[in-house]
């Protein structure tokens, strides 16, 4: 099967500090991939390379068989950054409209996608409020709606559930699962919450700039003969030293 995202032998360093070392990663449509690891492990740098905001020193990143960075391919990537990048002086609807108009969508499509995505994240009734009056969870949901606005094939979510209450977290994950199953999206999620990692089809453990373990959650647990992913995390990390 064709790879939607393919990272081949990517390294990156800022000065003497090595951020990523020889990363290999590939994804297929209709799957959720988890990038798991402690803060500062290099997850966000990987994400930025996929989106084309950072370029590798060595190696290449391919998205839908096109070498990144590539502006046209960005039409097919939905990106949700770690911090909510929203215009707080504008209403939720105006934020959605603004981002929608940056993509190739006609007027009818735009209106339809705005309605669909806001319903998806349960914000329809709050759309005319200014974002400055939104709660943290509402902002997170709006960010997710913006990531989905142009109906992208690949979704890249950097810590999508940070600061979100458990109930909302469940509903966001249900939505991600639905997008994967019904719309055949490729979803790449970074997280350091292990019970979220359980829901991924495939996990890559990132530590100190390297991918130290790969596989389905059950494969990894088996490999390290532990009960939980927390155990995998600790074992894999311990092995390195």
């Amino acid at each position: 099967m064709e790879h939607t995202v393919s990272i081949q032998g990517v390294s990156k360093s800022y000065g003497k500090h090595v951020v990523l070392e020889d990363i290999d990663f590939s994804s297929e449509a209709g799957q959720i991939y988890g990038l798991i690891g402690p803060s500062g492990a290099g997850k966000t740098t990987i994400v930025k390379m996929i989106v084309g905001m950072d370029v590798p020193e060595k190696g290449t990143v391919f998205l839908l068989n096109k070498k990144m960075p590539n502006l046209d391919i960005l039409q097919q990537i939905g990106y949700m950054a770690q911090s909510d990048a929203l215009y707080s002086a504008l209403t939720g609807k105006e934020n959605l409209q603004f981002f929608a108009s940056l993509y190739k969508l006609n007027k009818a499509e735009r209106a339809e996608r705005i309605e669909y995505t806001s319903k998806l994240v349960n914000l329809t009734s709050e759309l005319n409020k200014k974002v400055s009056n939104y709660s943290g969870g509402m902002k997170r949901r709006l960010s997710l709606a913006i990531a989905l606005i142009q109906n992208p094939k690949v979704l890249i979510l950097d810590e999508p559930t940070v600061g979100i209450d458990p109930q909302l977290r469940v509903s966001i994950w249900n939505e991600l699962l639905r997008l994967k199953n019904e719309e055949d999206k490729t979803i790449i999620v970074t997280t350091h919450v292990m019970d979220e990692a359980e829901k991924c089809d495939h996990i890559s453990m990132v530590r100190e700039g390297s991918i130290i373990a790969n596989g389905t959650p059950s494969q990894l647990k088996e490999q390290y003969s532990v009960e939980t992913l927390d155990g995998v995390f600790l074992h894999a990390g311990g092995e390195m030293k």
């Binding site: 989106v51 084309g52 905001m53 960075p69 046209d72 950054a81 990048a85 215009y87 603004f98 993509y103």
Partner: protein
């Protein structure tokens, strides 16, 4: 299409921000009005104390717009000046004339000194003439110099030459600050990064910022110019359209400079720190102070300041009545500044996305 969406968003953000709107459109009018009132205040006649003087001298001093007060037997001149609120004191003992000046305001002292000297000279001449030719009564030889003005008239006030510079300065300052902070906010809230994860081109972002804030600057310019002409009674000798044109170009320079410098700031406060570094020196070299009198290397620095050219063009059109071809040189240089800043901006944005 994307540019239009971005422009719409920028304008919407500004419209929502009432204080910034007020800063853009009301603050310049307020400062202009205040300046106008301050600089066009009535001049007060200097007060001169006098001792042992002839009636004739006193009359001539009064004719020269001096408020003359007579005193007798003053022993302590300084004390007399202080006690009676005088600007100066003139003592005449036969051939010996002594003028003591308070000099708390050098401007007042200079003009008083000049007036007194010219009156005393006149008197000496008058005596000489009356000795030679007693028939001639009126001493008109002194007043026979006819003065004409290349620019302005005898009624020209400091504010007339200063206001053109001020109009341009508002555009420069406010647009610099607001566009710089606008882009800075976009950086610090992460929306710039988010924006660059869409297929938008770097050039489109810069173009949208230039057009969006440029429109605001245009509105501001029109408002300031209309207000200056109609309310403050400022005369613009040249074409109003040229004034607006110059200000739009000034806005372009200020915009691109503000955006560029915001790259080197990590907070609004750091953006404000650029004011004494970047904005204030521009005022020194804008022509308010005589540039010809500066040291050679300072004159060279003046020519590196964009506002030097803006002030030159504005003063040219508004006060000297220059037409387009007279100011085109200044405009080209300003456009060159803007072009350089815009190209640097394109490179600065590469930090966020290489493409």
């Amino acid at each position: 299409m994307r540019i239009i969406a971005l422009i719409k968003r920028i304008l919407l953000q500004i419209v929502r921000d009432k204080r910034t709107l007020a800063l853009l459109f009301i603050a310049p009018l307020l400062v202009l009005t205040l300046m106008n009132l301050v600089f066009n205040g009535e001049t007060v006649d200097p007060v001169l104390g006098i001792e042992n003087s002839s009636e004739q001298t006193i009359d001539m001093l009064k004719d020269a717009d001096i408020n003359v007060k007579e005193y007798n037997n003053v022993s302590d001149v300084e004390n007399a000046i202080h006690k009676n609120n005088l600007d100066g004191f003139l003592q005449i003992h036969d051939e010996d004339q002594r003028l003591t000046l308070l000099n708390d305001d050098p401007g007042v002292s200079k003009s008083l000194e000049m007036k007194v000297k010219s009156v005393l000279n006149k008197e000496v001449q008058l005596q000489m003439m009356s000795g030679k030719n007693a028939l001639k009564e009126k001493p008109n030889s002194q007043d026979s110099v006819e003065t004409s003005y290349v620019y302005g008239s005898s009624d020209t006030e400091f504010f007339d030459t200063f206001s053109p510079i001020l109009v341009g300065f508002f555009v420069f300052f406010f647009v610099f600050l607001i566009s710089g902070i606008g882009l800075l906010n976009e950086r610090t809230t992460g929306t710039l990064e988010r924006l660059l994860a869409t297929p938008i081109k770097r050039g489109e972002i810069i173009a949208a910022y230039l057009i969006g804030y440029g429109l605001l600057a245009l509105l501001q310019t029109i408002l300031v110019v209309v207000y200056s002409i109609n309310v403050l009674d400022l005369t613009i000798v040249g074409s109003v359209w040229n004034v607006i044109l110059i200000n739009v170009v000034v806005a372009l320079v200020a915009l691109s400079l503000g955006m560029l410098l915001s790259t080197f700031a990590s907070s609004e406060f750091q953006m404000v720190q650029f004011i004494p570094l970047v904005i204030v020196p521009q005022i020194f070299f804008s022509g308010i102070f005589s540039i010809d009198g500066m040291a050679g290397w300072l004159q060279f620095i003046a020519k590196l300041m964009p506002f030097y050219y803006a002030a030159d063009a504005l003063k040219g059109v508004m006060y000297k009545g220059f037409n387009f071809s007279d100011i085109s040189g200044d405009l080209y240089i300003l456009l060159a500044f803007a072009a350089v800043f815009i190209v640097l901006n394109l490179f600065a944005l590469k930090r966020y996305r290489k493409l």
